[in-house]
Amino acid sequence: MHVTINGERHELAPGATVDDALSAIGAPRSGVAVAVDGEVVPRVDWAVAKLGDGAVIEVLTAVQGG
């Protein structure tokens, strides 16, 4: 299935989770947060939260600012 992670298309296996999406872009597990289709997915759910086909995933961290 196809999902969009931080604006880029990725191919993930059906049944892939948020955790799989993080692996797909090589993201660290600490200091990041994930939103799927505009909703925050809490860290504790990453391993079990399954992604739907076409899901839009945003992976954010802290950068210099403010």
Binding site: N6, Q64, G65
Partner: protein
């Protein structure tokens, strides 16, 4: 909010060791930022939330952790309450803090806060358990309303973000201070040390600045200057300045006849 001199600044139950809150935006690289942060003596520093980049990773966070500086995520770039609320929730999840510098700006040209969206977002985030520090206009009425919805501090601007124009409306800042029951943090507009001192003399509890330091020719030296300025302004405020007089008043005794 006027505390007794020398007492700790407390915002929503969080003790803030230094009255100079720093931003991290604008530094040429992390090495320069590190030297500036250390020289500033800050204990609380803002960061923005953006898509993770494979090359930079979590570099800023790693730096702040190493320096023992607490992180204050902002919602910079948000134009609506909905965007700001989502960004704040992501920041809480990523950084494990309930503190948020709430920024909802109206347009890119002025970067001035949008009062309607700001108040809406503040109310939602307070209800969601956040410790909300709103970046607000220098408007005493809006500051009062932000406090009424439960914000832990109010952060009026001295001048628009990044302008370095100083405190453009000192009287408004004084009115906000006079009415506020929560700490007042002068946020944005500071260009040099005397302006940071002025903000503290007006009664602000802290100053938040970034550009003035990070884009100075020598960020480390300017950070040191800001640290001294905030301390000097705070001490002067609590020392009780002399009243302004129209005519001279001799400070030496009259000459003997």
């Amino acid at each position: 909010m006027a505390d007794e001199y020398g007492t700790d600044l407390v915002i929503g139950g969080h003790k803030i060791g230094s009255r100079l809150i720093m931003g991290t935006g604008g530094a040429a690289n992390l090495e320069i930022l590190e030297r500036a942060l250390v020289a500033s003596g800050t204990t609380l520093t803002t960061v923005a939330m953006r898509r993770i980049d494979a090359t930079t990773g979590t570099g800023v966070l790693d730096l702040l952790r190493r320096l023992g500086i607490a992180v204050l995520p902002n919602t910079a770039g948000c134009r609506t309450a909905a965007e700001a609320v989502l960004t704040a929730r992501l920041a809480r999840e990523a950084l494990e803090t309930d503190l948020v510098k709430l920024e909802v700006v109206a347009d890119e040209r002025t970067l001035l806060p949008d009062p309607v969206e700001l108040l809406d977002a503040a109310e939602q985030l307070v209800d969601d358990g956040f410790t909300v520090l709103p970046y607000t206009n220098d408007d005493p009425v809006l500051a009062r309303k932000l406090e009424q919805v439960g914000c832990a501090a109010v952060m009026p601007l001295g001048a628009p973000i990044g302008t370095g124009l100083g405190v453009r409306n000192p009287h408004n800042i004084e009115m906000i201070v006079a009415e506020a029951g929560v700490p007042v943090v002068l946020d944005a507009g500071i260009g040099t040390a005397s302006e940071a001192a002025q903000a503290m003399e007006l009664g602000c509890d802290a100053v938040l600045l970034a550009t003035a330091v990070t884009r100075a020719a020598d960020p480390e030296r300017m950070a040191h200057a800001m640290r001294l300025a905030v301390e000097a302004g705070y001490a002067a405020r609590h020392a009780g300045r002399i009243p302004r007089r129209y005519w001279a008043q001799a400070s030496s005794p009259e000459r003997d006849e």
